[in-house]
């Protein structure tokens, strides 16, 4: 009979087996969309001609399949388009993905890089916000995590203390423990996900459908029409509008986490060295019909050699009124909004590739 005091041996064994199982089935504690982004970046294929990189705003607003079809039909161009989008506003989460993409597949000809918003900056000032978000810890090797931390300056305090003591930095053992924990949690989730018929990894077409909560991608066509607002929708929109006004757009001189600007520059450098032409893209939120001149100036100051495009011209006139309310929430457009944004970017691709 096993003595209960020796029971911790079995806990150690169970956790070790779970860790191995999690690593073996290549499942992830995080949402499958995170795994899809890395699978897309690491696949054995030539780079896309055009790559869109951004947050869920870009994920909802840009339909790669639609753009490929429209480029072929309207402009007579056979162009491959891909999109990498990860939710939440954090530039560091794109660093390892872009590095992987360029190293594994090569640099795309043209990259649209979204200017990330400081989502609810008053909340993101949290002292223990990690430099490397959980996605990086899960997918990036230790050396990349350390590189990002070493480059990072958090709140730009003029302090004589080592920055490695600052909240948000992780020590190597803490990173390793976090990785082990994620693998164990993934293994625990795996049977439940299989049982519920959910995606446990990322294969085939799933790669292109990440960040796809409304089954929007590669589904829109020119037949999508504007749906007038319902009273309930209008109420929600107006309520959300108050929240929108509380947000600060990503501004190069923002007091919150300035180091993310430096991360953007590092990404741009990496892609340009690979031969990409990088274009910054500014995607509006609900009711946001123009960009303040001072914000444009700040962007220009921070990224003087990188062009900026934004679909604000679409908001002029009656069509603009329709587009301004074609959002499912504060940040994300609906089918009609996605159609307008995708058309806009299709035209930009054609112009940039000429």
């Amino acid at each position: 009979m096993v003595r209960l005091s020796k029971g911790p041996y079995f806990i150690v064994l169970a956790l070790a087996l779970l860790a191995f199982f999690g690593a073996w089935v290549r499942t992830y504690a995080l949402t499958p969309s995170s795994a899809c982004v890395y699978t897309l970046a690491e696949q054995n294929a030539a780079p896309a001609d055009v790559l869109f990189v951004g947050t869920s705003r870009m994920g909802r607003g840009v339909d790669a399949g639609y753009m490929e079809k429209r480029l072929a039909a309207q402009y007579g161009r056979q162009v491959t388009v891909e999109r990498i989008s990860l939710s939440t506003s954090n530039v560091t989460q794109f660093r390892p993905v872009i590095k992987r993409y360029v190293e594994a597949r090569g640099a795309p000809k043209l990259v649209f890089l979204q200017l990330i918003y400081n989502f609810k900056p008053e909340e993101r000032r949290s002292a223990d916000m990690p430099v490397n978000p959980p996605r990086n810890v899960a997918f990036a090797p230790l050396d990349e995590l350390l590189q990002i931390q070493n480059e990072a300056r958090l709140n730009d305090h003029e302090t004589v203390l080592p920055r490695s003591l600052e909240a948000g930095y992780m020590s190597i053992p803490a990173m390793l423990l976090a990785k082990v924990e994620m693998t164990i949690v993934a293994a625990l989730k795996y049977p439940a996900h299989r049982f519920l018929g959910r995606t446990t990894g990322c294969r085939g077409a799933e790669m292109h459908r990440h960040m796809n909560p409304t089954r929007l991608y590669n589904t829109i066509d020119d037949q999508v029409t504007f749906q007038p607002e319902t009273e309930a929708g209008k109420k929600t929109r107006l309520a959300n509008l108050k929240i929108t006004q509380a947000y600060l757009p990503f501004a190069p001189l923002s007091p919150v986490r300035r180091f993310e600007n430096q991360q953007m520059k590092a990404m741009i450098d990496q892609m340009e060295k690979g031969g990409s032409k990088v274009v910054l893209a500014y995607l509006p939120a609900l009711g946001e019909r123009e960009i303040a001149p001072e914000v444009l100036n700040e962007i220009k100051t921070a990224f003087p050699t990188t062009p900026l495009v934004h679909p604000m011209s679409l908001f002029a006139g009656e069509d603009g009124d329709k587009l301004a309310v074609s959002f499912v929430d504060t940040h994300h457009v609906n089918h009609y909004g996605a159609l307008q944004f995708s058309r806009y970017f299709t035209a930009r691709i054609a112009a940039e590739l000429d």
Binding site: P8, V12, T159, G168
Partner: protein, 344 residues
């Protein structure tokens, strides 16, 4: 430190302890507590070490004074000023740092020093070790419970620790499920409710998230400590059964409530404050111990007033029905106000 990472560190310590006499595992656990702080929050580790050193020096110097002297009786309370580091460290260091464990460790260190100074029998120099052991005890590092290092010493000297029982494994598993699954689920429900309705409507889910995370981590601490033969005080005793504020604080965060009553309420009461005022004062301290904010001041004031002025026994049908409802509305409401209200 996430619950599973905490458990992994405890299990690594347990594996190392297999080569040692079982009661000596307390030394390994304290050493591993230091290692954990070095890994996750080195500045917090330094603050805890300095607080323990400060406590040891206080015990050495104050114990030379007459037993009735104010310094000997109340000097150790100066240690609680170190709790301000949690709220003001960014001003002193000019940058935010991880503050893991400081609030709980400082209280444990204080309790040990206070007990050493109050003991009738003169302490030995070796007793100072238990100040550090209490400060760095790995299972209790993340979320308590709070206890005196002399409790560890008593168990150490008693030797022959009890065997682990099946219930410990069940409770450990329950702790993991609560902290890793249920708390996350409640957090998701809170976010969804906030998005669809309002943050206020999500208050019960925020409260349940906090409760599950706290209870789960407490269970991990209490029952993983039993692997090493050391028993820790219980933090939660079916708080959902509470029907009055007095009963609530006998069931909710028991170790901290006991600390507040013994070390804040009693001295205030003995110094002449009425029990009602002393109770309110003690709970205001408890609120500010959570966070130095107006929100938590009001949280402490609210709980203190409830405890001071609510009936100890429920008489009549109306009281029996209304009091539990009022209690839980107040508990959830004050928690929401302190954490998410305008003065959070």
């Amino acid at each position: 430190m996430a619950p599973l990472q905490h458990l992994i560190l405890i299990l690594v310590a347990w594996l190392l302890c297999q080569a040692l006499p079982r009661r000596d595992s307390v030394h390994v656990l304290s050493a591993f507590g230091m290692v954990a702080l070095l890994i996750y929050a080195p500045v917090a580790g330094l603050v805890i070490a300095l607080t323990a050193l400060e406590a040891a020096l206080m015990v050495v110097f104050f114990s030379a004074l007459p037993r009735k002297s104010n310094w000997r009786q109340y000097g150790a309370y100066l240690l609680l000023l170190n709790l301000f580091f949690v709220d003001f460290h960014h001003l002193a260091l000019n940058m935010p740092v991880a503050i893991l464990g400081i609030s709980f460790s400082a209280v444990r260190i204080f309790m040990t020093a206070k007990q050493l100074l109050s003991a009738r029998k003169a302490h030995e120099r070796s007793d100072l070790y238990w100040i550090f052991a209490a400060g760095f005890y790995l299972p209790a590092l993340v979320i308590g419970p709070v206890f005196s290092g002399l409790d560890l010493k008593a168990q150490y000297e008693k030797g022959a620790p009890e065997e682990v029982v099946l219930r410990d494994y069940r409770m450990l598993l329950l702790g993991l499920v609560l902290a890793m699954i249920v708390a996350v689920l409640m957090g998701t429900l809170a976010e969804l409710t906030t998005l669809r309705h309002s943050q206020l409507a999500a208050a019960p889910f925020y409260f349940l998230q906090l409760f599950c995370a706290f209870w789960g981590q407490s269970l991990i601490a209490e029952h993983s400590s039993r692997f090493f033969g050391y028993r820790l005080p219980v933090n939660f005793d079916a708080p959902w059964r509470a029907r009055t504020p007095a009963e609530f604080w006998k069931r909710w965060h028991k170790s901290m409530a006991n600390f507040v009553l013994q070390y804040i309420f009693l001295p205030l009461n003995l110094r002449g404050l009425s029990p009602k005022v002393a109770t309110t004062g003690a709970f205001i301290f408890m609120g500010l111990w959570h966070n130095l904010s107006i929100g938590y001041f009001i949280w402490g004031l609210g709980h203190g007033l409830m405890l001071a002025f609510s009936p100890q026994e429920l008489k009549g049908r109306a009281q029996q029905v209304l009091m539990p409802v009022a209690l839980w509305v107040s508990v959830i409401g004050l928690s929401y106000f302190a954490n998410y209200g305008p003065y959070a």
